[in-house]
Amino acid sequence: MNQENKYHIHKEEPISDEEIRATKDFKKLTYEYQKMTKPLVKTPLYKRHYRKILMTIILIAIVIWLIIEFG
């Protein structure tokens, strides 16, 4: 065969439908899809929509602490 040939043709090895069906796995595909579309590491709570509430609670706590200490 030509050593520089960049295209290879070989004789076809038959494969049955049953053998092909045995490789089917839709559950695995769904898992891969979820892994790809929904990141495994979720955004921490304080970085999401609770952020404002959290900041307000911290602010109130600081004010209460200031009143108790210096009020």
Partner: protein, 204 residues
């Protein structure tokens, strides 16, 4: 949502016995798959064997073909929102993805692109290029194919080795059926000339 689920259960049972009006049904399945990924199973069941055979023909390894085939369906599942029916079937769209995935596999592994052909494929090839050639001329076919550009190889593979109709070849390459015919016969003319120049006139 309940009705959609019932439709899914009914269609899942029907996947193995497709009716003649399966094309309309397929459009419904695509709509359902766009709404929820679980409905993609209907399309997966319908096309798995076809796509696996297409990939296996090129990779000639069961387990690698299963992995690449899985990548093809994963890509289709992720990008199904961008699929729009424009006269080309979903199977053709999947085949297009499969071609890209196979090419990507060859590039990533640094392997020489390959294809498996049976006796029928060889006969068909010589019928088009130079009738009367021996069937056992793998190397010669390989050398001639090597001389072609990527898109030219693609059309010969689809038409001769995958034994696809011109309509389907056109759908996969996203060109019209007539354009596919014109392109194919242009490549065949090129192969005929190459064969005569390289092998026939020089006495092979």
């Amino acid at each position: 949502m309940y009705l959609l689920h019932q439709f899914y259960i009914h269609s899942l049972k029907a996947t193995r016995n497709l009716q003649p009006d399966e094309h309309k049904q397929e459009i419904e399945w695509i709509k359902a798959a766009k709404q929820h990924p679980k409905y993609f199973e209907l399309l997966y069941n319908k096309y798995y064997i076809q796509i696996f055979r297409f990939v296996y023909k090129r990779l000639a390894d069961k387990s690698i073909s299963a992995d690449v085939c899985s990548d093809v369906f994963l890509k289709a599942m992720v990008n199904i929102q961008s699929y729009e029916y424009k006269g080309f079937t979903f199977g053709s769209w999947l085949t297009r993805i499969a071609i890209n995935e196979v090419n990507q596999y060859f590039r990533a592994k640094g392997k020489v692109p390959s294809i498996s052909i049976d006796e029928y494929g060889q006969t068909q090839f010589w019928k088009e290029v130079h009738e009367g050639m021996s069937k056992e001329e793998y190397i010669l076919i390989s050398n001639l194919m090597h001389s072609l550009k990527e898109d030219e190889k693609e059309i010969v593979e689809l038409r001769i080795f995958d034994d696809k109709a011109f309509k389907e070849v056109g759908e996969i390459l996203q060109i019209t059926e007539n354009n596919a015919k014109v392109k194919f016969y242009r490549v065949i003319d090129k192969l005929k000339k190459l064969y005569l120049e390289k092998y026939h006139e020089s006495g092979k």
